[in-house]
């Protein structure tokens, strides 16, 4: 599912090929492709005329980027203060048990990638689990399994 060079070039063109738009270009590629393969980073560096070392620095510095392939569904468990006191740890443990992966990992079927995040900004709904950008609020242990099962 790697992006072809044409698609990358289109994204770069949208940002007028400016080196200062490196982060914005990588964000768009990350959003389309869910991760940043080495060849993509090389192509971006070449087109924007930025040293590969700097592109790697950016790609490893910012949390939005992944240098390894991701699953079809991004699961984010909020560990912010409000969710923490409302039982986020138990939600996380349940997700870990059900998927067999720890935060930062992707399962062998490439179905789920799990991450913990800090405050998704809807504390009134804690504990909160976000899957592919959709927020599931006030999740209980029982519901966690139902929610995960609803994803193919």
């Amino acid at each position: 599912m790697n992006l072809d060079n044409e698609k990358i070039d289109q994204i770069i063109d949208r940002h007028h090929g400016e080196a200062s738009s490196l982060i914005q270009v990588l964000l768009e590629i990350q959003s389309d492709n869910h991760w940043l393969p080495k060849e993509v980073l090389e192509r971006v560096s070449e087109k924007l005329q930025v040293p590969l070392s700097r592109t790697m620095h950016i790609a490893s510095f910012y949390k939005a980027f992944s240098l390894v392939p991701k699953g079809r569904h991004d699961v984010h468990i909020c560990m912010g203060t409000a969710c923490h006191v409302r039982g986020a740890k138990r939600v996380l443990e349940t997700v870990e048990d059900l998927t067999g992966i720890k935060p930062g990992e992707t399962d062998a079927d490439m179905k789920f990638s799990l991450e913990t995040v800090n405050c998704l900004g809807c504390c009134a709904l804690g504990p909160v689990m976000e899957i592919n950008g959709k927020t599931h609020g006030k999740v209980t242990i029982g519901e966690t399994a139902n929610v995960l099962n609803s994803y193919e």
């Binding site: 982060i23 620095h57 510095f61 949390k63 980027f65 409000a82 405050c119 927020t135």
Partner: protein, 376 residues
């Protein structure tokens, strides 16, 4: 496509908007901020649209999707105008009854009202709910009544009149004096006097200067900036344009976290609309002043909320802070004088210009004037 070329044209256009609107017409407003969306506001909104059509009320009942009202714990929130009946925790199943009642404003659905936990009393109006009762909402005040995706809603409540006032009769020095006199302090946490920061950049001899909105809000439980970006983006833009005029900047940036997709969407839409109407771009309102704004999405680094790290990130590098022997209002983004203020600080500016520094200093404490948005 509409382009407004002078302050006079803006006033004429505003009157046209207002004369086309009947304040007595029933209108259902639905909170559509991130938190309410997470509690099912989108489904409720879709159901309202369906029901209005099904019940044949398309011409007589309106729907407006607004920004955050603040009472997220009880969302999604519906307010029935003009009676301002407030319904909380709405489920799609409640919608048919709400819509069919819209024409009879005196009819109230008791089970959807707020119940005071102390007295068991039902409360009909938002302003009487204890959560809201003791709040003074200035910057946040319009969030519940305007559709952030509709620039005409902002114009209808007097939007861009502060910009028109500045561009038609105030010199940059006048604006600076007013902001200094208001004793507005930065709302991002540092509390630095905004006027002094602006003055430093204004007095700097460099030709190229920048203004920046810091919307890299990331502390747990804090989403004041998000609520404004989502709910009233034009108020931030208006403040930013006024700031740019004051210090002599022609380019501005909004640094907003990519974790706030709705905020990114609404502020980007606001920028393109402002450009279309002529509040951004070349020769704004016929004043000869040019100014453009770009959105930069933060890629997830908490440290980028710090001003120098943020500017480094804007340049397309890894956001790391630098020592501030020289302040960034003298040497900041691309080593040029750069005024960076928080979202809420910028959104205070139109209020100060419209109502005056003397009004502003009557509000707040001895050391800090104006209001402050809190999220708990």
């Amino acid at each position: 496509m509409i382009r407004i070329n002078t302050p006079e044209e803006l006033e004429i256009f505003r009157q046209e908007i207002l004369s086309g609107r009947d304040p007595g017409k029933p209108c259902i407003t639905l909170c559509s901020g991130s938190a309410c969306n997470a509690s099912g506001s989108e489904e409720v909104g879709a159901r309202i649209e369906e029901e209005i059509i099904q019940q044949g009320l398309s011409g007589s009942v309106g729907l407006r999707k607004t920004g955050c009202h603040g009472f997220c714990e009880r969302g999604p929130i519906i307010i029935n105008h003009p009676a301002e009946t407030t319904y909380l925790q709405i489920k799609p199943g409640d919608v048919p009854e709400i819509v069919s009642n819209a024409l009879q404003q005196d009819k109230v659905i008791n089970r959807l009202l707020y119940t005071d936990p102390g007295t068991n009393e039902k409360i009909v109006h938002e302003s009487e709910i204890p959560f809201y009762k003791h709040q003074k909402r200035l910057v946040f005040g319009s969030n519940g009544s305007i559709d952030p995706k509709n620039i005409d809603d902002y114009l209808a409540i007097g939007g861009y009149s502060a910009l028109a006032k500045v561009l038609s009769g105030m010199s940059p020095e006048d604006v600076l004096d007013e902001v200094k006199k208001s004793r507005l302090r930065g709302r991002g946490g540092g509390g630095f006097p905004a006027g002094s920061k602006w003055e430093g950049s204004r007095d700097a001899s460099e030709k190229i200067k920048y203004v920046i909105v810091n919307a890299d809000e990331g502390d747990p439980g804090a989403y004041m900036d998000r609520a404004l970006l989502e709910g009233n983006p034009h108020s931030i833009l208006e403040g930013l344009i006024i700031g740019a005029y004051t210090i002599g900047a022609h380019e501005g940036y909004i640094y907003v976290r990519q974790e706030y997709p709705l905020a990114v969407e609404n502020i980007s839409l606001a920028i393109s609309k402002a450009l279309e109407y002529g509040f951004l771009g070349k020769n704004i309102l016929g004043s000869g002043f040019d100014f453009v704004v770009k959105v930069h999405k933060g890629a997830g680094a908490f440290v980028c909320g710090e001003s120098t790290a943020l500017m480094t990130a804007l340049e397309g590098r890894a956001g790391e802070p630098r020592p501030k022997y020289v302040r960034s209002n003298i040497r900041g983004f691309w080593d040029k004088p750069s005024v960076l203020n928080n979202v809420e600080t910028w959104a205070n500016i139109p209020l100060i210009i419209n109502k005056g520094a003397d009004w502003f200093t009557q509000i707040g404490t001895e050391g800090s004037k104006g209001t402050k948005i809190f999220s708990l």
